[in-house]
Every structure is written in C-alpha cells, then in structure tokens.
C-alpha cells in the first residue's frame, strides 16, 4: 500500500469549538465565505441532540480522487509520497468541474477570486515537518494526523461513520470515531 496521510476525526472528543475551521483561515486568510474546513452538525437521526455532535470536515484526500480525474489542467494532484491531494489554485481555470464532481463538497467555490480551492492538508507545513494548522490548532486533540497502512485500525475507527456519506469509489482517507451520548436525567420544567 502506498503511503497515505489522513485526518482522524474524533467526534467523541470534538467540542464543536470551531478552532480547526478558524485555524485554517488563520493560516490561509481565505475571503469571507470561503471555507476549506467546516463543522457538520449531525442530524437528529444520527445524534439526538441538536448542535451537540459534529464532524470536522475538509478534503478527504481520497485514494481515488475525483477532482484529480476531472481537472482539465492538472491543478489537483495526488502526491505520490504521502497521498495528499494538493490543489494549486494558480493553475485553476475556474471550470468548476471539481466543485460539481466532488460528492463531499471539498472544493470551495471562490466567487471573489474566481477559482476553485480546497484543503491541501497544509502540504507546506507537512514538508516543513509541522502538523496541519487544524490538527495543531485543535484544543481537544480531536483531529489527529494518521498514516493509513495495511494494519487494520481498531473497530471503533470508521471510514463511513453514521451521518457521513458513503462514496466507496472514491475511497476517502479520512477516518472517524463516532460521538457518544451521555446518560440523561432531565426535568421538564424549570420554573
């Protein structure tokens, strides 16, 4: 198996603090409205309490990335050495093919700069021996960087957790730990 770096998103630990999402904007200064990493609150069918469980999502750096396949100018490239799908926005011709093709919605449509763009796993930081901004920036240690190998991950680590769409042909590299629910003791009335 070729080396594949991946995000491990631990929803059990995620506190919905949005530090990861803003750590990305702190590093790249995307325009207002342009977001590479976002928090997806789990829907009621997947977690019973609204806005209380999240998946921190950016590019999944798929094994078979559709963006690489559809990009006519080679702006999306999967690196041989670690499987990171790097996007070079200076090559982008704003054909929007990646934006339309990626079922996970990873490429963002930058209307202002007229280009597609997405998370490249902080490839320059990685090359400098640093962690991606979101990984280092998570105060709860709920996003970590892992290397996918032949070795099987523990059962509680999932590729397709509840509430995360399954697109097997892409083989997304992101792995998840699902959120848990506390035991509840609830009074109905406060007054």
């Amino acid at each position: 198996m070729k080396k594949q770096l991946a995000f491990l998103v631990n929803s059990k630990k995620c506190i919905g603090c949005y530090s990861c999402a803003m750590a990305c904007k702190n590093q790249y200064h995307q325009e207002k409205g342009v977001v590479w990493r976002k928090l997806k609150p789990l829907e009621a069918k997947d977690y019973p309490h609204r806005d209380r469980a999240f998946y921190s999502l950016a590019c999944n750096h798929c094994a078979t990335p559709i963006c690489v396949e559809v990009c006519p100018v080679g702006a999306h490239v999967k690196r041989e050495k670690d499987g990171i799908v790097v996007h070079s926005s200076d090559k982008c011709i704003y054909c929007r093919q990646c934006i339309e093709a990626c079922p996970y919605g990873a490429p963002a449509d930058n209307v202002e700069l007229q280009r597609a763009e997405k998370c490249s796993m902080c490839v320059e930081r990685i090359d400098a021996g640093l962690l991606p901004a979101c990984v280092q920036g998570c105060p709860a240690k709920a996003i970590t960087l892992i290397e996918l190998t032949e070795e099987k991950l523990p059962d509680y680590v999932k590729q397709y957790p509840v509430g995360f769409d399954k697109f097997e042909e892409l083989n997304p590299s992101t792995r998840f730990v699902e959120a848990v629910k506390p035991k509840l003791v609830l009074n109905k009335k406060d007054l």
Partner: protein, 755 residues
C-alpha cells in the same frame, strides 16, 4: 508528468504581498504610503517558513489566557498559534484566538481619533490626536473649575483587556485627581465572596491536575466552549477511569461529553448540594479527619441539614430525582480524589453566592479540599502579584476629592494607593451604571471615560442606560470598533490590539505567565491605553502645568518592565522578564493542590462551614438554602457565553460569520409547538426591560420553560443585543471582596411570540 507538479505544491498564487516583497527588495518600500502596509494586510497567504516570531498573550476575560506565538513577515502579522511550551495552551487556540489576524487587519477597525457631531447621529469627523486631547483636556479643566473637584469625571472600565499594564487607565484617572469610579465586577463576585467566606480566599487547584480526579462534577460551567483547553485534561481523567457528571440547566456541549448529564432547575444548585450533603451525612460518608481537624462549624452545618433538609425536599426543589441525588452523593463521597468545578454561570443569581458555599461544603465534608485532583475549583489570583506600577499614580497637589471612606476594591489587586489621604475617589457599583449616572449629583457625572469595556453591549437595562448617557456632557470611548457604546460617545480614540504593544498576562484559572511583545507597529493611528494616558498628561500639563502626574512615557515596553518584581521572578523561576521571550512559564508550586497545607485564610484558619464574616456581610453563617428570584414572566431567559465571542468582542469580526452567521433563541420543541413557533421562524422575545427579534431554533437542550440566547453584541448590520432582556438585579454576594455585588444575569424572564 504529474510527479513534476507534485514538487511545487504551491497553494497560493502571486499576491499583492509578492509585489510588496519585490518592492522591499528594490528598496522602494519606505517611499510607499504608510497605509499600504496596513489597510489590506488580510490577504491570501500560505506557510512560507522563515518568519520572525513574537510572544503574545491573549488578554481577554477568559479562563484560558492563552500564550500565543505570532508569526510576522515584512512587519505584517501572518498567523498565530498556541505556544507549545505551555502544557495548558498546548499549541492550540480557540476560534476567537485564531481570528486575531483578521481582527488586526479588519477594515472595520477604528483608524483615527474621531468626533461625532451629535451623539448617535453617525456623523463622524476625523480629528487629529492633538485636537482630541485638547478638547478632552479643556473639558477636564472646565469641570475642575466649575465643581472645585474632578469627581464629575468618571471611569467605566472592566475586562476588555486584562493585560497588567492596562491598569494604567486607572492610573491615568488618579494622575488627574480624585474622580468617580465604577467598582465591582459583573461576572463572578458572588462566587469569590463565597469562597472567601469558606476558605479565606479564592484559590483553585492547578486545572492540569484534574487528570488525577476519580470523579468530576462540572457544575454550571461550559468549558467545552469557554475553557476549551481544559477539556483535554477532563478527557484524560475519563480515560484513566474518572466519571464526569455535568449539572446544568442547559445541555451544553460539555454536558454532551459527560458520562451523566443532569438538567437541574436553574438557581436550585443550593438545594441539590444540600440534599447531597444530607445524604452523605446520613450514610456517614464524610471525612471525619477533615471535618474535625480542619474545619469550623461542621456540627452546626450537620444540625442544619438534619433539621431543614431531606433528599426528597431537595428533589422537589431541584427537579433532580431523589435516587439520582443519592447516587451522585454516594459516588462523589466514595471516590478519592473527587472534585467539583463550579462555573461562573451558577453564581449569577440572587442566591448564587450561597449556592457556591453549599457546593464548597460538599467538597469539604468529603475531605476533597487540599488534595491533588480534588478541590472546589472556581478560580484563583495566586499569580497576580505584579507591581501595578502603571495603576498606582499620585493625584496632583491640591486635588480635592470625596470626603467619604470609599476604598476602591478589585479582585485582582489590593486597594489603589496606600495613602491615608483625607480625600478619596467616589465609588459607584459598576453594575448600576445607568441608575448611578441618573441619580448622582453634587457634582453630577459630566465626563465619562470608557476603556476596556462596552457598557451598551454588556450592561443592563439599556433603555435606562441611553437616558443616563443623555445626561452626560461628554463621553470619550477608547475602542477598536464602532460598537454601540461608541455610537453613544462624542469622541472615540482608536486603541491598539495585543500585537501592537508590550504587556504581561496571567490567568485566573491556570498557573502560567505569558509575555506579550509588540509584534507589529501600531496600526493606523491607534495607541495603547498607556500611550493615551501619557499623551493626555502631556496635553494637560501644556494647558495647565501640574494638572496631571502621569509619566509621559510612551514606550509600552518600559511600562511592562516596571510590573515585574522579585516575588513574580521567584514564583515563576525566572531571572527577569526577558526569560519569558523563550516561552511562557508555569508557577513553581509545592503542590498542584490549593490549601495543601490545610492552612486556610479564614479568621479561624480552618475551613468555615459556619462563617461569622458571612454574617457580618448580611448573609447566613451557614450555607443555608435561599429560594431563587421569583419569576416575573413565563419563560426563564438564560444568556450564557457562546464559543464565538468573549462578551461583546469577536462576534463582529466578519469571518466569524462564516461559522456563526446569526443569533438565535433556542426553545424546547414542546414550548415551540404550544406557541405555534416553527424552527427558523422569526420571533419576538419580550420582557419588562425590552425586547429582541430573531429566529427561533428548536432544540431539546433546554427545559420547556427556558429560552437560551447567547451573548452578546453582534455587530455588523444586526442590532441584536441580549442585554435588552437583562435587568440590573444584584446577586447576593460580592461586596466583601470586590466592593459591590454581582448581577443576577441568569435570573431573567420573558415571554415569546411569533414576530
């Protein structure tokens, strides 16, 4: 072919900055207008390496007080990160901290001193610093002449910037004469007094030692949003086998991470704690050693419990079933160490202080005070022993002041100045600003100076506040953004961000100290609070020699250096402040547990279940049950903190809207159905104080008769402000240590209807 492309991996194309870089190389940078390095520095960037780095420290009113490492290139702040040297900050910041580069280069920043022609008109005119200071100085001199004193000048300042040198604003006031000061604190004084009555000080364990706890109750606090760095220690305790229980009227994000979440009736924390205490007493699960050797009044407390409290009574009052009360009481008493983190929300009530005392009592009677991993954790000021050099300034000779015995109290430091002067400042409860301005005469408050505070964003009964401001002859506000207080001011002075000055910061929660260096030049014409004080002093003395004693030092580094002393050096194991350039340092403590020597700061030197001092301040000696404030409307209104803002700061930053686009009122599905309110519909929340109109978000995180609206000023095009719904009712405690009681912020009520 693809392989070749891989090598470059460039994320960002040529930018305006690349132009600047070549401009710098060509040596033409100095000939460019100054604005070019400031106006649009929030532009696309990527990790380049070879940065100049600086130490900064977040000065916001927050548990975490993060040590920050700032990355600068070409005099521009590129990005920030948490200092890795601090095991508390651990390389990470929060969503607010990571928004700092945008805040520095926000197009919305106030760039120059400005004057509003007609308060509230929005007709702002740029003026020079000289014009602004001349106008203010003339007003000060006019007041002195008219009233024979400067008591007509008042300061409203609190927690907008906790950098130690920012107490220079208080110093500036003293350097002008005896003035009127708003004293006290809105946030946490009831709990401070409670812990002082019980233990003789507010002194919590090192939060990092919570990993040693076997049982953790987080009570009325939401660290998942408000102390994000503490969560990793809570998780580690969980991983080591600890049980985590969250008690809160709201199912907070912290509650979602607990093993057990208990939704208590708001402000009934006392009944629940007393019920737990009664059960612990009955089961003889209390610590005989602690209660006999280290405490005073345990027998009276036990007698009170036996006479007045049963578990069933506590269940009835608190809404927590009796079997659950028994279960958590037994589990807590049987685990060692066990700890309770008493959040600040829990004491923002008319019975908040005494409720904290009841919670302290549960921790104390089980022998969990003074041990590592244990403790009744609330906060501490153990590391705040600076010189307050900037704050302590002498009044000009011949100054006339208030002939009372007012002494300015603050939780952070001792009384200002030791002099036994005949005169003093006139002090007024900070939580009653509107009422005080309206009713204070002889002399009335004529000139109000606002710094590090946004009263229209954070104070209570805003309609009354508007009337109060109308009575003022001049309002000067020092700020970074055109908020609602600025709208109600005559002159606004632009102030620097933390990256544009030197200071030093410590926390009221963790035990680290962080240096704050000037990483970039002052932006536009912004000045720090200290520079403003120095410039005002210069102008005052020009107009009337000897009218201001404030040193005319404008180098914030000089001021920062003057705050250090041997005590601070020793506590943090440093030779001088310069050691902090290598990173934040942690206080060297003999134990991570507070009160580890069992020598309490109370009059008896013991833990006081029965406190005579509490009685002196008008409270019961024992932590007796006190009923909550009576509801004055159908729903309880809770207005806690969101993760996106610190009081009225950060919500207004445009990129924060990417993740927090608009405010909501959170309502239970049953209540929404009964009112015919659908999710996302616009509703009006109304009470005796005012009203707000916003969208409803239907959720089971609250009980059927509770509404939640997260604070605070939202900025931008919305005029949303939850303070429309909050009156100025006082909490029970606070006067002992901070000079005034706090505010019963969470004892508010309202009705809700479709808009």
């Amino acid at each position: 072919m693809k392989k070749d492309l891989l090598k470059t991996g460039g994320i960002c194309p040529l930018s305006r900055r690349s132009f600047l870089k070549s401009a710098a190389a060509a040596g033409i940078l100095s000939s460019l207008p100054a604005g070019i390095l400031q106006a649009a520095e929030w532009e696309r960037t990527h990790y380049e390496g070879d940065y100049e780095t600086f130490r900064n420290a977040c000065p916001r009113n927050c548990y975490d007080t993060c040590s920050i490492k700032s990355y600068v290139k070409d005099g521009v702040l590129r990005f920030v990160e948490g200092a890795k040297e601090s095991t508390f900050t651990g390389g990470a910041l929060c969503v607010k901290g990571f928004s700092y580069p945008r805040r520095v280069y926000s197009p919305d920043r106030i760039k120059y001193p400005m004057k509003q022609i007609g308060r509230g008109t929005g007709n702002w005119k740029r003026i020079s610093w000289d014009e602004a200071l001349t106008e203010i100085s003339n007003k000060i001199l006019e007041i002195k002449k008219k009233d024979g004193s400067l008591l007509g000048m008042a300061l409203d300042k609190y927690s907008g910037n906790f950098g130690i040198t920012h107490y220079g604003v208080e110093g500036m006031m003293s350097s002008l004469g005896y003035t009127t000061r708003f004293v006290g604190t809105p946030c946490w004084p009831a709990g401070i007094d409670a812990q002082n009555f019980d233990m003789g000080n507010m002194w919590c364990n090192d939060p990092e030692d919570i990993v040693k706890a076997k049982y953790i109750i987080i009570w009325g606090g939401n660290p998942a949003w408000n102390s994000v760095h503490s969560m990793k220690f809570v998780y580690e305790a969980q991983e080591r086998g600890a049980k985590v229980v969250v008690i809160d009227p709201i199912m907070t994000q912290t509650a979602a991470k607990a093993d057990l979440y208990i939704r208590i009736k708001t402000s009934e924390d006392g009944s629940l704690a007393l019920g737990m205490a009664r059960h612990i007493l009955d089961k003889k699960l209390y610590s005989k050693e602690f209660t006999t050797k280290h405490s005073k009044g345990f027998d009276e407390f036990a007698a009170y419990l036996k006479k007045n409290v049963t578990v069933e009574w506590a269940a009835e009052k608190s809404g927590v079933p009796a079997n659950v009360i028994r279960q958590i009481a037994e589990e807590f008493a049987s685990a060692s160490p066990a700890t309770i983190w008493a959040g600040y929300g829990l004491q923002r009530h008319t019975n908040g202080g005494v409720n904290v005392r009841a919670i302290d009592a549960v921790v104390a009677m089980t022998g969990n005070i003074g041990i590592e991993g244990g403790g009744a954790r609330y906060g501490h000021l153990h590391t705040w022993g600076f010189n307050y050099n900037a704050m302590v300034q002498k009044q000009p000779e011949g100054s006339v002041g208030y002939l009372g015995k007012d002494k300015i109290k603050s939780e952070f430091h001792g009384p200002e100045g030791e002099a036994q002067a005949a005169y003093s400042d006139r002090t007024i409860n900070i939580n009653k600003i509107a009422e005080s301005i309206l009713t204070t005469n002889e002399p009335p408050i004529r000139l109000l100076w606002v710094a590090c505070k946004n009263p229209f964003g954070q104070d209570f009964d805003r309609n009354k506040l508007k009337k109060a401001f109308d009575k003022l002859e001049m309002v000067v506000t020092v700020d970074q953004f055109f908020n609602e207080t600025v709208q109600n001011s005559d002159i606004v002075l632009p102030c620097t961000t933390l990256f544009e000055e030197y200071t030093v910061n410590v926390s009221y929660w963790h035990y680290w100290i962080g240096l704050n260096e000037k990483a970039i030049p002052e932006q536009y014409e912004a000045k720090s609070d200290l520079q403003i004080a120095a410039m005002l002093s210069k102008k005052m003395n020009e107009l009337e020699a000897g009218s201001c004693t404030f040193p005319q030092i404008t180098d914030t580094k000089v001021w920062m250096e003057k705050e250090f002393n041997d005590g601070i050096h020793k506590l943090f194991g440093i030779e001088s402040w310069e050691d902090l350039k290598n990173g934040p340092r942690k206080a060297q403590l003999p134990s991570s547990a507070s009160w580890n020597e069992m020598k309490f700061g109370t009059p008896s030197g013991k833990y006081e279940f029965s406190s005579d001092l509490a009685a002196e301040y008008g409270h019961t000696k024992l932590p007796e049950y006190k009923a909550p404030r009576k509801a004055y409307d159908k729903f309880r209104v809770l207005t806690p903190h969101t993760q996106f803002a610190l009081h009225s700061q950060f919500n207004n930053i445009d990129i924060m809207r990417d993740f927090n686009p608009e405010p909501f009122v959170y309502i239970n599905p049953a209540a929404a159905a009964a009112k015919g309110i659908k999710d996302g519909e616009t509703v009006k929340v109304v009470n005796k104080t005012g009203s707000v109109t916003l969208k409803a978000r239907v959720t089971d995180i609250v009980a059927e008769d509770v509404l939640v609206l997260y604070e605070a000023w939202f900025g931008g095009k919305t005029d949303f402000n939850i303070q429309e719904l909050v009156d100025d009712e006082s909490s029970d405690m606070g006067t002992f240590k901070t000079g005034a009681p706090g505010v019963a912020l969470h004892d508010q009520f309202a009705g809700i209807e479709k808009a």
